[in-house]
Symmetry: C2
Subunit: 278 residues, 2 copies
Protein backbone atom coordinates (compact mmCIF):
# COMPACT_ATOMS: atom_id res chain seq x y z
CA UNK A 1 0.00 0.00 0.00
CA UNK A 2 1.44 3.36 -0.97
CA UNK A 3 0.36 6.84 -0.07
CA UNK A 4 -1.79 8.11 2.70
CA UNK A 5 -5.56 8.18 2.90
CA UNK A 6 -7.19 10.78 5.06
CA UNK A 7 -10.74 10.45 6.21
CA UNK A 8 -12.69 12.89 8.28
CA UNK A 9 -13.88 11.68 11.65
CA UNK A 10 -17.49 10.51 11.65
CA UNK A 11 -17.63 10.31 7.88
CA UNK A 12 -16.56 7.91 5.19
CA UNK A 13 -14.92 10.62 3.13
CA UNK A 14 -11.42 9.66 2.06
CA UNK A 15 -8.86 12.00 0.55
CA UNK A 16 -5.70 10.75 -1.13
CA UNK A 17 -2.82 13.00 -0.18
CA UNK A 18 -0.18 11.34 -2.29
CA UNK A 19 2.63 8.86 -2.09
CA UNK A 20 4.54 9.33 1.13
CA UNK A 21 7.73 7.39 0.50
CA UNK A 22 10.60 8.76 -1.55
CA UNK A 23 14.31 9.09 -1.01
CA UNK A 24 16.20 12.32 -0.42
CA UNK A 25 19.80 11.26 -1.01
CA UNK A 26 19.60 8.97 1.99
CA UNK A 27 19.07 11.74 4.55
CA UNK A 28 16.68 11.27 7.43
CA UNK A 29 14.08 13.93 6.96
CA UNK A 30 11.28 15.58 8.84
CA UNK A 31 7.99 16.46 7.16
CA UNK A 32 7.20 19.65 8.99
CA UNK A 33 7.55 23.11 7.41
CA UNK A 34 7.29 24.79 10.83
CA UNK A 35 10.62 23.41 12.08
CA UNK A 36 12.69 25.64 9.77
CA UNK A 37 11.08 28.71 11.32
CA UNK A 38 11.98 27.74 14.89
CA UNK A 39 15.01 29.33 16.54
CA UNK A 40 15.53 26.33 18.77
CA UNK A 41 14.24 22.77 18.69
CA UNK A 42 14.01 21.17 22.11
CA UNK A 43 13.72 17.38 22.17
CA UNK A 44 11.88 17.43 25.50
CA UNK A 45 11.72 13.73 26.23
CA UNK A 46 15.35 13.09 25.26
CA UNK A 47 16.69 16.07 27.24
CA UNK A 48 18.53 17.36 24.15
CA UNK A 49 18.18 20.50 22.02
CA UNK A 50 19.66 22.31 19.02
CA UNK A 51 20.95 25.24 21.13
CA UNK A 52 22.17 23.29 24.13
CA UNK A 53 23.87 20.46 22.21
CA UNK A 54 26.02 20.19 19.09
CA UNK A 55 23.90 17.45 17.54
CA UNK A 56 25.97 16.99 14.32
CA UNK A 57 29.13 16.51 16.40
CA UNK A 58 27.41 14.18 18.86
CA UNK A 59 25.40 12.09 16.40
CA UNK A 60 26.49 12.85 12.80
CA UNK A 61 28.21 9.45 12.37
CA UNK A 62 25.16 7.37 13.34
CA UNK A 63 24.36 4.63 10.80
CA UNK A 64 22.37 2.18 12.92
CA UNK A 65 19.69 2.81 15.53
CA UNK A 66 18.43 -0.07 17.64
CA UNK A 67 15.30 0.47 19.70
CA UNK A 68 13.59 -1.70 22.32
CA UNK A 69 11.11 -1.30 25.17
CA UNK A 70 13.22 -1.79 28.28
CA UNK A 71 15.97 0.66 29.37
CA UNK A 72 17.99 -2.14 31.01
CA UNK A 73 17.92 -4.25 27.88
CA UNK A 74 18.99 -1.34 25.68
CA UNK A 75 21.94 -0.71 28.01
CA UNK A 76 22.82 -4.41 27.83
CA UNK A 77 22.58 -4.24 24.04
CA UNK A 78 24.93 -1.22 23.97
CA UNK A 79 27.41 -3.15 26.16
CA UNK A 80 27.15 -6.06 23.73
CA UNK A 81 27.88 -3.66 20.83
CA UNK A 82 30.93 -2.32 22.71
CA UNK A 83 32.34 -5.84 22.75
CA UNK A 84 31.34 -6.62 19.15
CA UNK A 85 32.85 -3.38 17.80
CA UNK A 86 35.94 -3.53 20.02
CA UNK A 87 35.01 -0.27 21.74
CA UNK A 88 35.46 -1.65 25.24
CA UNK A 89 38.75 0.07 25.96
CA UNK A 90 37.65 3.45 24.63
CA UNK A 91 34.59 3.98 26.76
CA UNK A 92 34.17 1.52 29.56
CA UNK A 93 31.78 3.78 31.35
CA UNK A 94 28.80 3.67 29.01
CA UNK A 95 26.92 6.94 29.51
CA UNK A 96 23.15 7.33 29.29
CA UNK A 97 22.88 10.35 26.96
CA UNK A 98 19.31 11.02 28.21
CA UNK A 99 20.29 10.81 31.90
CA UNK A 100 18.58 14.18 32.53
CA UNK A 101 15.18 12.53 32.01
CA UNK A 102 13.72 9.19 33.06
CA UNK A 103 11.44 8.91 30.01
CA UNK A 104 13.95 7.11 27.75
CA UNK A 105 17.54 5.82 27.93
CA UNK A 106 20.05 6.30 25.09
CA UNK A 107 23.57 4.92 24.54
CA UNK A 108 25.96 5.48 21.65
CA UNK A 109 28.68 3.04 20.60
CA UNK A 110 30.46 4.28 17.49
CA UNK A 111 27.91 4.40 14.65
CA UNK A 112 25.28 2.54 16.71
CA UNK A 113 22.63 4.25 18.83
CA UNK A 114 20.69 2.13 21.33
CA UNK A 115 17.45 3.68 22.70
CA UNK A 116 14.58 2.48 24.87
CA UNK A 117 11.01 3.37 23.92
CA UNK A 118 8.78 2.14 26.76
CA UNK A 119 5.60 0.18 26.07
CA UNK A 120 2.93 0.90 23.48
CA UNK A 121 2.34 3.00 20.39
CA UNK A 122 2.10 6.42 22.11
CA UNK A 123 5.35 5.88 24.02
CA UNK A 124 7.41 4.78 21.01
CA UNK A 125 5.77 7.51 18.90
CA UNK A 126 7.05 10.32 21.16
CA UNK A 127 10.55 8.81 21.05
CA UNK A 128 10.46 8.40 17.25
CA UNK A 129 9.37 12.02 16.65
CA UNK A 130 12.33 13.25 18.69
CA UNK A 131 14.79 10.66 17.36
CA UNK A 132 13.91 11.53 13.75
CA UNK A 133 14.41 15.24 14.48
CA UNK A 134 17.71 14.39 16.20
CA UNK A 135 18.97 12.44 13.16
CA UNK A 136 17.75 15.24 10.87
CA UNK A 137 19.48 18.00 12.86
CA UNK A 138 22.64 15.86 13.05
CA UNK A 139 22.53 15.51 9.22
CA UNK A 140 22.65 11.72 9.44
CA UNK A 141 22.59 9.82 6.17
CA UNK A 142 21.62 6.23 5.20
CA UNK A 143 20.40 5.29 8.64
CA UNK A 144 19.04 1.82 9.34
CA UNK A 145 16.73 1.40 12.34
CA UNK A 146 15.97 -1.98 13.86
CA UNK A 147 13.44 -2.67 16.58
CA UNK A 148 14.61 -5.54 18.78
CA UNK A 149 12.66 -7.21 21.55
CA UNK A 150 10.51 -10.09 22.63
CA UNK A 151 6.84 -10.82 21.97
CA UNK A 152 4.19 -13.51 21.92
CA UNK A 153 4.43 -15.90 18.97
CA UNK A 154 1.67 -17.41 16.84
CA UNK A 155 2.22 -20.95 15.58
CA UNK A 156 5.95 -20.39 15.84
CA UNK A 157 8.47 -22.42 17.82
CA UNK A 158 9.48 -20.71 21.12
CA UNK A 159 12.92 -19.15 20.75
CA UNK A 160 12.33 -18.27 17.09
CA UNK A 161 13.02 -14.79 15.73
CA UNK A 162 10.35 -13.16 13.58
CA UNK A 163 11.53 -10.54 11.11
CA UNK A 164 8.57 -8.33 10.27
CA UNK A 165 7.72 -7.69 6.61
CA UNK A 166 4.58 -5.73 7.40
CA UNK A 167 2.91 -4.64 10.64
CA UNK A 168 -0.85 -5.14 10.86
CA UNK A 169 -3.47 -3.80 13.28
CA UNK A 170 -5.98 -5.81 15.39
CA UNK A 171 -8.12 -6.27 12.29
CA UNK A 172 -5.13 -7.68 10.31
CA UNK A 173 -4.95 -4.55 8.15
CA UNK A 174 -1.49 -3.30 7.04
CA UNK A 175 -2.11 0.22 8.26
CA UNK A 176 -1.69 2.64 11.13
CA UNK A 177 -4.46 5.09 11.94
CA UNK A 178 -2.94 8.37 13.10
CA UNK A 179 -5.31 10.90 14.62
CA UNK A 180 -4.20 14.40 13.54
CA UNK A 181 -6.25 16.97 15.44
CA UNK A 182 -9.61 15.27 14.82
CA UNK A 183 -8.88 13.77 11.42
CA UNK A 184 -7.91 10.12 11.07
CA UNK A 185 -5.06 9.53 8.63
CA UNK A 186 -4.29 6.00 7.45
CA UNK A 187 -0.58 5.28 6.94
CA UNK A 188 1.17 2.32 5.36
CA UNK A 189 3.04 -0.07 7.68
CA UNK A 190 5.21 -1.94 5.21
CA UNK A 191 8.82 -2.29 6.33
CA UNK A 192 11.95 -2.40 4.17
CA UNK A 193 11.78 -5.74 2.34
CA UNK A 194 15.46 -5.73 1.26
CA UNK A 195 16.54 -5.16 4.84
CA UNK A 196 14.26 -7.99 6.02
CA UNK A 197 15.83 -10.38 3.45
CA UNK A 198 19.32 -9.22 4.40
CA UNK A 199 18.64 -9.85 8.10
CA UNK A 200 17.22 -13.29 7.30
CA UNK A 201 20.50 -14.15 5.53
CA UNK A 202 22.44 -13.15 8.67
CA UNK A 203 20.58 -15.65 10.86
CA UNK A 204 22.63 -18.58 12.09
CA UNK A 205 21.57 -22.07 13.10
CA UNK A 206 21.16 -21.35 16.82
CA UNK A 207 17.47 -20.50 16.52
CA UNK A 208 14.81 -20.59 13.78
CA UNK A 209 14.35 -17.29 11.96
CA UNK A 210 11.45 -16.43 9.68
CA UNK A 211 9.82 -13.50 7.93
CA UNK A 212 6.16 -12.83 8.79
CA UNK A 213 3.52 -10.26 9.65
CA UNK A 214 3.56 -8.72 13.12
CA UNK A 215 0.28 -7.72 14.72
CA UNK A 216 0.34 -4.59 16.84
CA UNK A 217 -2.32 -3.96 19.50
CA UNK A 218 -3.10 -1.09 21.89
CA UNK A 219 -3.48 -3.46 24.82
CA UNK A 220 -1.60 -6.40 26.30
CA UNK A 221 -4.59 -8.21 27.85
CA UNK A 222 -8.03 -7.82 26.21
CA UNK A 223 -6.49 -6.82 22.87
CA UNK A 224 -4.20 -9.85 22.59
CA UNK A 225 -6.65 -12.52 23.71
CA UNK A 226 -5.12 -13.07 27.15
CA UNK A 227 -7.39 -14.73 29.70
CA UNK A 228 -5.54 -13.38 32.76
CA UNK A 229 -6.19 -9.61 32.77
CA UNK A 230 -8.32 -7.77 35.33
CA UNK A 231 -11.01 -7.67 32.62
CA UNK A 232 -11.88 -10.53 30.28
CA UNK A 233 -15.27 -11.14 28.67
CA UNK A 234 -14.39 -13.78 26.07
CA UNK A 235 -14.01 -17.56 26.23
CA UNK A 236 -10.93 -19.62 25.48
CA UNK A 237 -12.68 -20.78 22.30
CA UNK A 238 -13.26 -17.21 21.08
CA UNK A 239 -9.61 -16.41 21.81
CA UNK A 240 -8.38 -19.42 19.84
CA UNK A 241 -10.73 -18.65 16.97
CA UNK A 242 -9.35 -15.08 16.77
CA UNK A 243 -5.71 -16.17 16.97
CA UNK A 244 -6.36 -18.76 14.26
CA UNK A 245 -7.77 -16.04 12.00
CA UNK A 246 -4.68 -13.92 12.77
CA UNK A 247 -2.41 -16.85 11.84
CA UNK A 248 -4.31 -17.41 8.59
CA UNK A 249 -3.83 -13.70 7.80
CA UNK A 250 -0.06 -14.23 8.03
CA UNK A 251 0.52 -12.98 11.60
CA UNK A 252 3.42 -14.74 13.34
CA UNK A 253 3.83 -12.57 16.43
CA UNK A 254 1.94 -9.96 18.46
CA UNK A 255 3.36 -6.85 20.13
CA UNK A 256 2.47 -3.23 20.81
CA UNK A 257 4.67 -0.85 18.78
CA UNK A 258 5.25 -2.09 15.23
CA UNK A 259 2.55 -0.23 13.25
CA UNK A 260 3.60 3.29 14.26
CA UNK A 261 7.28 2.28 14.01
CA UNK A 262 6.78 1.10 10.41
CA UNK A 263 4.63 4.10 9.46
CA UNK A 264 7.05 6.71 10.81
CA UNK A 265 10.22 5.07 9.42
CA UNK A 266 8.61 4.88 6.01
CA UNK A 267 7.54 8.53 6.06
CA UNK A 268 10.92 9.88 7.17
CA UNK A 269 13.42 7.97 5.03
CA UNK A 270 14.58 5.51 7.68
CA UNK A 271 15.29 1.97 6.46
CA UNK A 272 13.36 0.12 9.17
CA UNK A 273 12.98 -3.44 10.33
CA UNK A 274 11.68 -5.25 13.38
CA UNK A 275 13.31 -8.46 14.66
CA UNK A 276 11.49 -9.95 17.61
CA UNK A 277 12.34 -13.06 19.61
CA UNK A 278 9.44 -15.28 20.63
CA UNK B 1 -23.11 7.71 30.09
CA UNK B 2 -23.73 4.32 31.66
CA UNK B 3 -23.19 0.87 30.29
CA UNK B 4 -21.06 -0.41 27.51
CA UNK B 5 -21.78 -0.43 23.81
CA UNK B 6 -20.15 -3.04 21.68
CA UNK B 7 -19.91 -2.70 17.97
CA UNK B 8 -18.44 -5.17 15.56
CA UNK B 9 -15.48 -3.99 13.56
CA UNK B 10 -16.40 -2.80 10.07
CA UNK B 11 -20.07 -2.54 10.90
CA UNK B 12 -22.38 -0.10 12.63
CA UNK B 13 -24.01 -2.78 14.73
CA UNK B 14 -24.11 -1.86 18.41
CA UNK B 15 -24.97 -4.21 21.24
CA UNK B 16 -25.76 -2.97 24.73
CA UNK B 17 -24.16 -5.29 27.24
CA UNK B 18 -25.50 -3.66 30.38
CA UNK B 19 -24.52 -1.20 33.09
CA UNK B 20 -20.93 -1.75 34.11
CA UNK B 21 -20.67 0.15 37.37
CA UNK B 22 -21.94 -1.20 40.66
CA UNK B 23 -20.48 -1.53 44.14
CA UNK B 24 -19.44 -4.76 45.83
CA UNK B 25 -19.06 -3.71 49.46
CA UNK B 26 -16.18 -1.44 48.50
CA UNK B 27 -13.88 -4.23 47.31
CA UNK B 28 -11.71 -3.75 44.27
CA UNK B 29 -12.86 -6.39 41.86
CA UNK B 30 -11.77 -8.03 38.67
CA UNK B 31 -14.25 -8.88 35.92
CA UNK B 32 -12.71 -12.07 34.67
CA UNK B 33 -14.18 -15.53 35.39
CA UNK B 34 -10.96 -17.23 34.23
CA UNK B 35 -8.87 -15.87 37.13
CA UNK B 36 -10.58 -18.10 39.71
CA UNK B 37 -9.52 -21.16 37.74
CA UNK B 38 -5.83 -20.23 37.70
CA UNK B 39 -3.46 -21.83 40.18
CA UNK B 40 -1.15 -18.86 40.13
CA UNK B 41 -1.53 -15.30 38.93
CA UNK B 42 1.73 -13.72 37.84
CA UNK B 43 1.74 -9.94 37.56
CA UNK B 44 4.47 -9.98 34.92
CA UNK B 45 5.17 -6.26 34.60
CA UNK B 46 5.18 -5.66 38.37
CA UNK B 47 7.42 -8.66 39.13
CA UNK B 48 4.90 -9.95 41.70
CA UNK B 49 2.71 -13.06 41.90
CA UNK B 50 0.20 -14.88 44.07
CA UNK B 51 2.54 -17.82 44.76
CA UNK B 52 5.77 -15.89 45.18
CA UNK B 53 4.39 -13.07 47.34
CA UNK B 54 1.93 -12.79 50.22
CA UNK B 55 -0.11 -10.04 48.59
CA UNK B 56 -2.69 -9.58 51.42
CA UNK B 57 0.15 -9.13 53.95
CA UNK B 58 2.09 -6.81 51.68
CA UNK B 59 -0.78 -4.68 50.36
CA UNK B 60 -3.98 -5.42 52.36
CA UNK B 61 -3.93 -2.03 54.14
CA UNK B 62 -3.76 0.07 50.95
CA UNK B 63 -6.39 2.82 50.84
CA UNK B 64 -4.84 5.27 48.39
CA UNK B 65 -3.02 4.65 45.14
CA UNK B 66 -1.28 7.53 43.39
CA UNK B 67 -0.12 7.00 39.83
CA UNK B 68 1.98 9.16 37.51
CA UNK B 69 4.10 8.78 34.38
CA UNK B 70 7.65 9.22 35.63
CA UNK B 71 9.41 6.74 37.98
CA UNK B 72 11.53 9.52 39.53
CA UNK B 73 8.49 11.65 40.28
CA UNK B 74 6.62 8.76 41.87
CA UNK B 75 9.63 8.09 44.11
CA UNK B 76 9.71 11.79 45.03
CA UNK B 77 5.98 11.63 45.77
CA UNK B 78 6.50 8.59 48.05
CA UNK B 79 9.26 10.49 49.88
CA UNK B 80 6.88 13.43 50.29
CA UNK B 81 4.25 11.04 51.71
CA UNK B 82 6.84 9.68 54.17
CA UNK B 83 7.25 13.20 55.54
CA UNK B 84 3.53 13.97 55.51
CA UNK B 85 2.59 10.74 57.30
CA UNK B 86 5.54 10.86 59.73
CA UNK B 87 6.96 7.60 58.35
CA UNK B 88 10.46 8.98 57.87
CA UNK B 89 12.01 7.22 60.86
CA UNK B 90 10.45 3.86 60.07
CA UNK B 91 11.70 3.36 56.55
CA UNK B 92 14.30 5.84 55.46
CA UNK B 93 15.40 3.59 52.67
CA UNK B 94 12.36 3.67 50.43
CA UNK B 95 12.31 0.40 48.48
CA UNK B 96 11.14 0.02 44.90
CA UNK B 97 8.79 -2.98 45.21
CA UNK B 98 9.07 -3.63 41.45
CA UNK B 99 12.89 -3.45 41.44
CA UNK B 100 13.02 -6.82 39.61
CA UNK B 101 11.65 -5.14 36.47
CA UNK B 102 12.32 -1.79 34.81
CA UNK B 103 8.79 -1.48 33.40
CA UNK B 104 7.26 0.32 36.41
CA UNK B 105 8.37 1.59 39.83
CA UNK B 106 6.28 1.11 43.00
CA UNK B 107 6.67 2.47 46.54
CA UNK B 108 4.49 1.89 49.61
CA UNK B 109 4.19 4.32 52.51
CA UNK B 110 1.63 3.09 55.05
CA UNK B 111 -1.76 3.01 53.29
CA UNK B 112 -0.44 4.87 50.24
CA UNK B 113 0.92 3.17 47.12
CA UNK B 114 2.84 5.28 44.59
CA UNK B 115 3.32 3.76 41.11
CA UNK B 116 4.68 4.96 37.79
CA UNK B 117 2.83 4.10 34.59
CA UNK B 118 5.00 5.34 31.69
CA UNK B 119 3.54 7.32 28.82
CA UNK B 120 0.33 6.66 26.90
CA UNK B 121 -2.82 4.55 27.11
CA UNK B 122 -1.24 1.13 26.42
CA UNK B 123 1.45 1.63 29.06
CA UNK B 124 -0.94 2.74 31.85
CA UNK B 125 -3.41 0.04 30.78
CA UNK B 126 -0.92 -2.80 31.43
CA UNK B 127 -0.10 -1.31 34.84
CA UNK B 128 -3.80 -0.90 35.74
CA UNK B 129 -4.68 -4.50 34.83
CA UNK B 130 -1.95 -5.77 37.15
CA UNK B 131 -2.59 -3.17 39.89
CA UNK B 132 -6.31 -4.02 39.96
CA UNK B 133 -5.50 -7.74 40.23
CA UNK B 134 -2.98 -6.93 42.98
CA UNK B 135 -5.58 -4.97 45.00
CA UNK B 136 -8.12 -7.75 44.38
CA UNK B 137 -5.78 -10.53 45.53
CA UNK B 138 -4.76 -8.42 48.55
CA UNK B 139 -8.48 -8.03 49.44
CA UNK B 140 -8.20 -4.24 49.52
CA UNK B 141 -11.37 -2.32 50.30
CA UNK B 142 -12.54 1.27 49.64
CA UNK B 143 -9.52 2.21 47.59
CA UNK B 144 -9.16 5.69 46.11
CA UNK B 145 -6.86 6.10 43.12
CA UNK B 146 -5.56 9.48 42.00
CA UNK B 147 -3.59 10.18 38.87
CA UNK B 148 -1.13 13.02 39.44
CA UNK B 149 1.04 14.68 36.84
CA UNK B 150 1.57 17.58 34.51
CA UNK B 151 -0.02 18.35 31.15
CA UNK B 152 -0.71 21.05 28.61
CA UNK B 153 -3.50 23.47 29.62
CA UNK B 154 -6.24 25.01 27.51
CA UNK B 155 -7.29 28.57 28.38
CA UNK B 156 -6.09 27.96 31.91
CA UNK B 157 -3.51 29.98 33.86
CA UNK B 158 -0.08 28.23 33.98
CA UNK B 159 0.44 26.66 37.39
CA UNK B 160 -3.26 25.79 37.74
CA UNK B 161 -4.43 22.33 38.74
CA UNK B 162 -7.20 20.71 36.68
CA UNK B 163 -9.30 18.09 38.47
CA UNK B 164 -10.90 15.90 35.80
CA UNK B 165 -14.65 15.30 35.93
CA UNK B 166 -14.71 13.36 32.68
CA UNK B 167 -12.03 12.26 30.23
CA UNK B 168 -12.78 12.78 26.54
CA UNK B 169 -11.13 11.46 23.38
CA UNK B 170 -9.71 13.47 20.43
CA UNK B 171 -13.27 13.97 19.16
CA UNK B 172 -14.39 15.36 22.56
CA UNK B 173 -16.47 12.25 23.27
CA UNK B 174 -16.66 10.97 26.90
CA UNK B 175 -15.66 7.45 25.96
CA UNK B 176 -12.80 5.00 25.61
CA UNK B 177 -12.75 2.57 22.72
CA UNK B 178 -11.27 -0.73 23.86
CA UNK B 179 -10.43 -3.25 21.16
CA UNK B 180 -11.21 -6.74 22.49
CA UNK B 181 -9.92 -9.31 20.00
CA UNK B 182 -11.39 -7.59 16.93
CA UNK B 183 -14.47 -6.07 18.51
CA UNK B 184 -14.52 -2.43 19.58
CA UNK B 185 -16.16 -1.85 22.96
CA UNK B 186 -17.04 1.69 24.03
CA UNK B 187 -16.58 2.39 27.75
CA UNK B 188 -17.62 5.34 29.88
CA UNK B 189 -14.88 7.71 31.09
CA UNK B 190 -16.70 9.57 33.84
CA UNK B 191 -14.68 9.88 37.04
CA UNK B 192 -15.95 9.99 40.63
CA UNK B 193 -17.75 13.34 40.94
CA UNK B 194 -17.83 13.31 44.79
CA UNK B 195 -14.09 12.72 44.89
CA UNK B 196 -13.53 15.56 42.40
CA UNK B 197 -15.59 17.95 44.61
CA UNK B 198 -13.77 16.75 47.73
CA UNK B 199 -10.38 17.38 46.11
CA UNK B 200 -11.50 20.83 44.96
CA UNK B 201 -12.35 21.68 48.58
CA UNK B 202 -8.81 20.64 49.65
CA UNK B 203 -7.17 23.14 47.29
CA UNK B 204 -5.42 26.04 48.96
CA UNK B 205 -4.68 29.53 47.70
CA UNK B 206 -1.20 28.79 46.35
CA UNK B 207 -2.46 27.96 42.86
CA UNK B 208 -5.80 28.11 41.01
CA UNK B 209 -7.71 24.82 41.00
CA UNK B 210 -10.67 24.00 38.79
CA UNK B 211 -12.79 21.08 37.64
CA UNK B 212 -12.92 20.46 33.88
CA UNK B 213 -12.78 17.89 31.11
CA UNK B 214 -9.43 16.32 30.24
CA UNK B 215 -8.74 15.34 26.64
CA UNK B 216 -6.70 12.19 26.14
CA UNK B 217 -4.82 11.57 22.87
CA UNK B 218 -2.75 8.69 21.50
CA UNK B 219 0.01 11.03 20.39
CA UNK B 220 1.94 13.96 21.84
CA UNK B 221 2.70 15.78 18.56
CA UNK B 222 0.22 15.42 15.67
CA UNK B 223 -2.62 14.45 18.00
CA UNK B 224 -2.27 17.45 20.32
CA UNK B 225 -1.80 20.13 17.68
CA UNK B 226 1.93 20.64 18.27
CA UNK B 227 3.82 22.31 15.42
CA UNK B 228 7.23 20.91 16.42
CA UNK B 229 7.04 17.15 15.76
CA UNK B 230 8.95 15.32 13.03
CA UNK B 231 5.64 15.25 11.13
CA UNK B 232 3.18 18.14 10.91
CA UNK B 233 0.75 18.79 8.06
CA UNK B 234 -1.52 21.44 9.60
CA UNK B 235 -1.22 25.21 9.94
CA UNK B 236 -1.13 27.25 13.14
CA UNK B 237 -4.66 28.45 12.26
CA UNK B 238 -6.00 24.88 12.00
CA UNK B 239 -4.37 24.04 15.32
CA UNK B 240 -5.92 27.06 17.06
CA UNK B 241 -9.31 26.34 15.52
CA UNK B 242 -9.16 22.75 16.86
CA UNK B 243 -8.04 23.80 20.33
CA UNK B 244 -10.80 26.43 20.43
CA UNK B 245 -13.35 23.74 19.64
CA UNK B 246 -11.85 21.58 22.41
CA UNK B 247 -12.12 24.50 24.86
CA UNK B 248 -15.75 25.10 23.86
CA UNK B 249 -16.44 21.40 24.50
CA UNK B 250 -15.22 21.89 28.09
CA UNK B 251 -11.64 20.61 27.72
CA UNK B 252 -9.20 22.34 30.08
CA UNK B 253 -6.12 20.15 29.67
CA UNK B 254 -4.68 17.53 27.31
CA UNK B 255 -2.72 14.41 28.23
CA UNK B 256 -2.32 10.79 27.16
CA UNK B 257 -3.74 8.41 29.80
CA UNK B 258 -7.01 9.66 31.30
CA UNK B 259 -9.63 7.84 29.18
CA UNK B 260 -8.42 4.29 29.91
CA UNK B 261 -7.69 5.28 33.54
CA UNK B 262 -11.30 6.49 34.00
CA UNK B 263 -12.79 3.51 32.15
CA UNK B 264 -10.89 0.86 34.12
CA UNK B 265 -11.39 2.50 37.55
CA UNK B 266 -15.12 2.71 36.88
CA UNK B 267 -15.36 -0.93 35.81
CA UNK B 268 -13.42 -2.31 38.79
CA UNK B 269 -14.83 -0.40 41.76
CA UNK B 270 -11.96 2.04 42.22
CA UNK B 271 -12.92 5.60 43.23
CA UNK B 272 -10.80 7.43 40.69
CA UNK B 273 -9.74 10.98 40.03
CA UNK B 274 -7.11 12.79 38.01
CA UNK B 275 -5.43 15.98 39.25
CA UNK B 276 -3.03 17.46 36.76
CA UNK B 277 -0.86 20.56 37.08
CA UNK B 278 -0.60 22.79 34.03
Amino acid sequence: MDGTRVFLANSNQHINIGKETHSRNGFVYVKNPHLDLMEEDILYHLDLGTKTHNLPAMFGDIKFVCVGGSPNRMKAFAQFMQKELGHEGEDNDLKNICAGTDRYSMYKVGPVLSISHGMGIPSISIMLHELIKLLHHAKCCDVTIIRIGTSGGLGVEPGSVVITDVAVDSFFKPQFEQVILDRVVTRSTELDQDLASELLKCSGKDFPTLIGHTMCTYDFYEGQGRLDGALCCFSNEKKLEYLKRAYNAGVRNIEMESTVFAAMCRLCGLKGCSTIKI
